[in-house]
């Protein structure tokens, strides 16, 4: 996998390690019902200024992935109980976060890497003003007076498009509208100028009209701050315009990984086809707009044998019985385009061209 060490868009062959380099990340939670394999060996890379979209239905391990980047999982003890078992490597700017001490990771959190959460109402403390929460985020990592931090908070609120930031800074989160709250959350994440920004379903809790504004804002800010952005969503439509690379996750694994252009124009994994087919589009008739993938997301405790997607896949008959016995490898079909499926590349391209494209 040396060819894609730098991610699909930024493969450049130089020996230098990418800004963010995740390899073979596994996150497992021991529970009473069994071990939950939430993330099962994913690898990706991302440079500053680039955006990676991680897409998948709920329960595919997207949030667990992002939380492990920030070191926010409670780690299991030496016996492997009471928390997440994490293995693999997460290199951020030359430092491995998996083996770093909790204190080292804490110092990077909010400073070098920051996160925007899904529901800004529950993600902000109800008892502190928006300003106080941004000020706090700034002062953990910057030894400045309260008034300096307050100026910075107002500046950030203005930057993310909050009207009258001078007065709104003293409002409580519940006094903001949903969209304004998410803007404030973004301001809080950006206050220390982080080089890696992770947004976990940042628009899922918002109205459709507000969604577009927030996405525009994130794109502008990412350009301004030149940060690496990981945009997590269950909706391919959200990443269509923003992402440089897209990784499609299913059952804790990457099933397709490539540039956004490739994943949208030449998708090769049956699950990606399903996601594209269930994408709401304005130019489609209402009744044929949504055709969700049949069946349910897999259990991550008893993952289906072979390809985890096989109980829902219409093409299992074409793989000579391998779909439910043998786990397919994530293999390159062209440089920078990885697909995990037993169907041969030629057959996949044929199916897409003949049966899928016209339905999208």
């Amino acid at each position: 996998m040396t060819a894609d060490r730098r991610g699909p868009t930024s493969a450049n062959g130089s020996g230098e390690r990418p800004f963010l380099d995740v390899s073979d990340l596994r996150v497992q939670f021991p529970t009473d019902d069994g071990v939950v394999k939430s993330v099962d060996g994913i690898s990706f890379a991302l440079e500053r200024g680039k955006t990676l979209g991680i897409v998948g239905e709920s329960g595919s391990g997207k949030s667990v992935t992002s939380l492990s980047l920030l070191g926010l999982h409670r780690r299991a003890d030496r016996k492997g109980r009471g928390g997440a078992r994490i293995s693999g490597e997460i290199w951020l700017d030359g430092q491995d976060l998996v083996t770093a001490s909790p204190e080292e990771v804490r110092r990077l959190r909010g400073e070098k890497m920051a996160m925007i959460f899904q529901d800004p109402l529950s993600a902000m403390h109800p008892f502190y003003t928006v300003g106080a929460q941004i000020i706090e985020a700034y002062r953990v990592h910057n030894k400045v007076s309260k008034s300096v931090a307050r100026k910075r908070a107002i500046e950030l609120l203005e930057l993310v498009g909050i009207p009258q930031p001078n007065t709104r800074v003293d409002d409580f989160p519940h006094q903001f509208s949903g969209g304004m709250r998410q803007r404030a959350m973004i301001a809080m994440a950006l206050v220390c100028n982080p080089r890696l920004l992770i947004a976990d379903e940042p628009t899922t809790a918002l109205d459709v009209t507000v969604q577009a504004q927030i996405l525009d804002l994130m794109r502008d800010l990412q350009r301004e701050f030149d940060s690496a952005l990981i945009l997590i969503t269950h909706d391919l439509g959200v990443v269509a315009e923003l992402a440089d690379d897209i990784m499609v996750m299913y059952g804790g694994k990457a099933v397709e990984y490539g540039t956004a252009e490739t994943v949208f124009r030449q998708p090769e994994h049956p699950y990606t086809w399903g996601l594209l087919g269930s994408m709401p589009r304005i130019d489609r008739e209402v009744q044929e707009r949504l055709s969700p993938i049949r069946g349910n997301p897999p259990s991550l405790i008893n993952v289906p044998s072979g390809c985890a997607f096989h109980p829902r896949c219409p093409y299992t008959a074409e793989t000579g019985g391998r779909s439910d016995t043998e786990i397919p490898l994530l293999a390159a079909t062209s440089p920078g385009h990885l697909v995990r499926c037993h169907l041969g590349p030629a057959r996949r391209q044929e199916i897409f061209a003949e049966q899928i494209r016209e339905t999208l």
Partner: protein
């Protein structure tokens, strides 16, 4: 906020009027439904061979010769305006708030309550500090180290605390500490805080401990459950994501949210204790409000019973009001 408080104060008055009505029905009317007559009730207050005139006098003093509504209105009016009683030999001026006159111990109700209040107040304040502090501290530690030895030990202690009544705990502690080794004063000893603060403190240790133990146990469980809830909240994860130290995450973010409902429960429990820590006062023979309530019930001292009940009720409804106001101050989402 101000209009809320004023409106609630009116409600408080209305509620107390109802409490007075209900207690009056219970203490004055219900015995008569059970076959008692004013005469049989009055007879207890007169000597061995009561003369009809003496009985009539008592009936008149209690107001049993008037209709119930008149008695009730008289009682309320007396609270506001005061009155003059006659115990048969002399007139006694009873100033507002006049809660009546006890013909049992020849004392006015309100001053008696006021003079017994410091004892109850001593018990309540000390025990309140103890149970709130230890309850919250051990609940917090349990929640943060959930499943650890410390957590399990504190849960067992809490279970013990909840199941041990004061009258069991009191001898358990005082037999060794007070009687065997004389480290602490024996139950029954009490001096006011003003006359000897040091001795007062020593005297109070056992009553405080006995009362606080069970309540601390309850607050341990409340705090633990509340903290566990809050620790899984998104805003705690956000606090961690900002890179705050774990200490700051726990105290400034999680505890701040978990404590708000606990403080309001504390307000109610504290008010209940102020209305008489009955078991502790009886067990340690401390003449506080609870002790007064029990003795006046035993003596059939109607005015005293009425007075103490109203007093305790007033504490609870006022504490309720205070708690609501505090809640609004603590939680910016609540608007009054």
């Amino acid at each position: 906020m101000l209009t809320f408080i004023v409106r609630r104060l009116f409600a408080v008055v209305g509620l107390l009027l109802v409490v007075a009505l209900v207690t009056m029905v219970i203490f004055y009317e219900m015995p008569q439904w059970g076959g008692q007559t004013p005469a049989t009730m009055a007879v207890q207050y007169v000597g061995k061979q009561p003369s009809p005139a003496a009985i009539q006098g008592v009936i008149h003093r209690f107001g049993f010769d008037r209709s119930f509504p008149v008695q009730y209105i008289d009682y309320i009016r007396t609270i506001v305006t005061g009155t003059t009683f006659s115990d048969g030999t002399q007139d006694i001026a009873c100033h507002a708030p006049c809660l009546g006159y006890s013909f049992r111990n020849y004392q006015q109700v309100w001053p008696t309550i006021l003079s017994d209040l410091p004892v109850t107040l001593s018990i309540a304040v000390g025990a309140g500090v103890l149970w709130l502090f230890f309850g919250v501290a051990s609940g917090l530690a349990s929640a943060v180290r959930k499943g650890s030895l410390l957590d399990r030990a504190s849960m067992v202690t809490a279970l013990l605390g909840i199941s041990l009544p004061v009258y069991f705990l009191a001898p358990l502690l005082s037999l060794p500490l007070a009687y065997r080794w004389s480290i602490l004063p024996a139950p029954g000893s009490y001096v006011g805080i003003l006359s000897d603060p040091g001795q007062w403190f020593l005297d109070m240790i056992l009553p405080w401990t006995c009362l606080a133990f069970g309540l601390a146990a309850l607050y341990t469980r409340l705090t633990r459950a509340g903290m566990l809830d809050v620790l899984s909240e998104d805003f705690v994860r956000t606090a961690r994501a900002k890179g705050l130290s774990e200490r700051r995450v726990i105290f400034k973010h999680a505890l701040r949210a978990a404590l708000t409902p606990i403080i309001t429960i504390f307000g109610m429990d504290f008010a209940t204790v102020l209305g008489g820590a009955v078991l502790v006062e009886i067990t340690f023979s401390m003449k506080g409000i609870g002790f007064l309530a029990i003795t006046s019930i035993q003596n059939g001292d109607f005015p005293m019973m009425m007075g103490v009940t109203l007093f305790a009720a007033a504490f609870i409804v006022l504490a309720n009001l205070l708690v609501d106001v505090l809640y609004a101050v603590a939680d910016p989402r609540v608007r009054l």
